[in-house]
Amino acid sequence: MTSRDQILAKVKQNQPNSVHLPDLSILGKESFDPITKFAETAVAIGAEVIEIQDFSEIQKYINSKYSGKTVRSTLADFNSENWLALSPKELDGTDFLLVEAQFGVAENGSIWISDKDLGQRIAPFITEYLGVILDKSKIINTMHQAYQIIGDEDYGFGLFLAGPSKTADIEQSLVLGAHGARGLVIFLK
């Protein structure tokens, strides 16, 4: 017998009688204003939130902070070199990356993005700073609604991202920019 079959046989023998799964539909009924809650929570976990009327404001933001730097984006209306063909390692040195999120979660200030939004999986991690565009109408209350939206999306890789990379491993002092992006700006449109 292989280890697999031995393990499975022993688990089967030792597992208790089957019990039912609980009802999840009673969860996630908290009520609050999703946009305010999202913005407050995102700021509390280290992100910057900027409300915008149109795309030119993002362009202005980037020009003021990253002129002459390496800026990349997956957005069609954004002018950047074709970096999708680069190897993941070659994305080291990206100063700013701009992507669009599918939706945001108010209770924890996170956004959901998957392969189709990312260009390359490494992109939102290896970039020094990250910008995310989020449609206000796509902010939902809790993680329960989040997984309803995700449903059975056929991604290879998907991610809840909440704030910039951080660590508190040295005496519990919070430091932003451990290994991933040092800063996150969310453009609420």
Partner: protein
């Protein structure tokens, strides 16, 4: 081998340090409380999580098969390890086969690894290093203990026992930082640069698994630093080591666990990154190693199987008065703290017989546990088992047997309480002596003049 109480005694010689350790962890516990109190449905969430886990344990073999089937469809290779040794061999063989049986030791630089308590449990680093494969821990806290030649002292906060001055000194020695610089920001930046180089130059990445979803064949890894993702998305080969109890039935169940995990662990609403790995990147290989290592045995122990519900949040560590004042290394096992003291005797009863006694049974652990494990009750039950199986010292056995006699008979209990109060009042030296382990490091409290029972009798109308 040194027991928990011996090591704890040594830890407690530095009173200031012990107090600092205690307070730092209690600070984390308070952050957890604050986060939990903000969720109206917190108790409902805990109950739901607990029920999901009961369902998982009762259908584990079916879910494991389902997970395997779906992971394979997604292009993930699945391996099964009965024990730690097999796990380590599998990891080595995956790497070796990737290089077609010929690891090019001159150019292959080894593995980058993100946090995985399972690989600690399996002593994987030591094994791979003995086979000529370097393993670089990339979580900042784990890198610190690794450079120091230690093991993590906490499952979520691996170097919680280190002071920044000492980390400054360590980094000065290993990473060439300025002597005397102990600024956490400066030191974190140094680690970022040091590890960025490793991420960019390693082909193989190893991660743990927080949750694996049976119906989708995907697995989720949670980090704050982004080290798991930096490792895997830059690698050509991703190996994920997974304890078999990490399975959950459906994707939607992640909502419950992701709401609970970070809030319980550090008081954050969610970890910075909750990464869902479902298919390998183009040109990448992805492997999952499903590990038993005693779990199927624990599943068969009715009194202890609930320990397999654990999601490794560390909340029971942070709240435990014994853990806080004895330090993780006193537990001499990969998983310390209250939950480790239930899991470890399952692996080796004799070697870990001291651990279920490293608790006051105050129950604080069970109160904070996000999946509602009856931790302190299991610790108590382990004590009975260990005494019965003859794994405890003569004093302990005597005490335990005496206690169970006292507790079994209301009349004896009443009487011994009276004697106890009288003794503490009239002859305190009988209680405050070195034979009474409870007296170590503390004064015995003033005994109440009357017991609750006596008080109740008098005051009841």
């Amino acid at each position: 081998m040194t027991t928990h109480s011996k090591s704890a005694e040594i830890f407690n010689r530095d009173f200031e340090r012990t107090t600092w350790h205690d307070e730092t962890l209690y600070f984390v516990r308070q952050k957890r409380d604050k986060a939990a109190f903000q969720i109206d449905d917190w108790e409902l969430l805990r109950e739901t999580a607990s029920q999901i886990k009961f369902n998982v344990l009762s259908n584990l073999s079916e879910y494991l098969i389902q997970f395997e089937e779906n992971a394979l469809k997604n292009g993930i290779k699945v391996h099964w390890a009965a024990d730690a040794r097999e796990h380590n061999e599998i990891v080595f063989n995956i790497v070796s086969e990737y290089f077609e049986g010929n690891i090019p030791h001159d150019t292959f630089k080894g593995i980058v690894k993100s946090k995985s308590m399972l690989t600690e449990e399996c002593h994987m680093n030591e094994y791979l290093i003995s086979k000529g494969i370097e393993v670089v821990d990339t979580d900042l806290g784990e890198r610190i203990v690794q450079l120091a030649g230690e093991r993590p002292s906490h499952i979520v906060l691996p170097c919680i026992h280190w002071k920044k001055e000492e980390i400054g000194e360590l980094f000065h020695k290993h990473l060439g930082t300025e002597k005397g610089n102990k600024d956490p920001k400066y030191l974190t930046e140094a680690a970022r640069q040091h590890l960025r180089d490793k991420f960019l130059n390693r082909k193989v990445a190893l991660t743990g698994v927080n949750f694996a979803v049976a119906v989708t064949g995907e697995f989720v890894v949670c980090t704050n630093e982004g080290n798991a993702d930096m490792g895997t998305h830059l690698s050509d080969l991703h190996i994920a080591s997974m304890g078999m109890e990490k399975i959950i039935p459906q994707r939607q169940h992640l909502s419950v666990f992701l709401r609970l995990l970070a809030r319980s662990a550090t008081g954050q609403p969610i970890t910075t990154y909750s990464s869902h790995f479902r298919k390998p990147r183009d040109g990448q290989q992805m492997h999952v190693v499903i590990v038993d290592n005693g779990r199927s045995t624990q599943l068969g122990r009715e009194d202890f199987r609930n320990s397999l519900k654990c999601i490794r949040c560390g909340a029971c560590f942070n709240t435990c008065p014994v853990y806080r004042r004895s330090g993780g290394h006193s537990y001499h096992t990969a998983i310390a703290g209250p939950i480790g003291s239930i899991l470890s005797p399952n692996l080796d009863m004799k070697a870990n017989a001291d651990l279920p006694f490293a608790s006051t049974l105050c129950g604080s652990c069970s109160n904070v546990c996000p999946v509602k494990i009856d931790i302190h009750q299991q610790l108590y039950k382990w004590r009975q088992v260990l005494v019965k199986e003859g794994h405890t010292s003569a004093t302990k056995t005597l005490m335990m047997k005496g206690m169970s006699k006292v507790l079994a008979s209301p009349a004896v209990f009443k009487f011994s309480g009276k004697v106890g109060r009288m003794l503490m009042d009239k002859m305190p030296f009988m209680v405050n002596n070195s034979l009474n382990l409870w007296y170590k490091q503390r004064e015995m409290p003033e005994p109440p003049k009357e017991s609750f029972r006596e008080w109740y009798k008098k005051n009841r109308k």
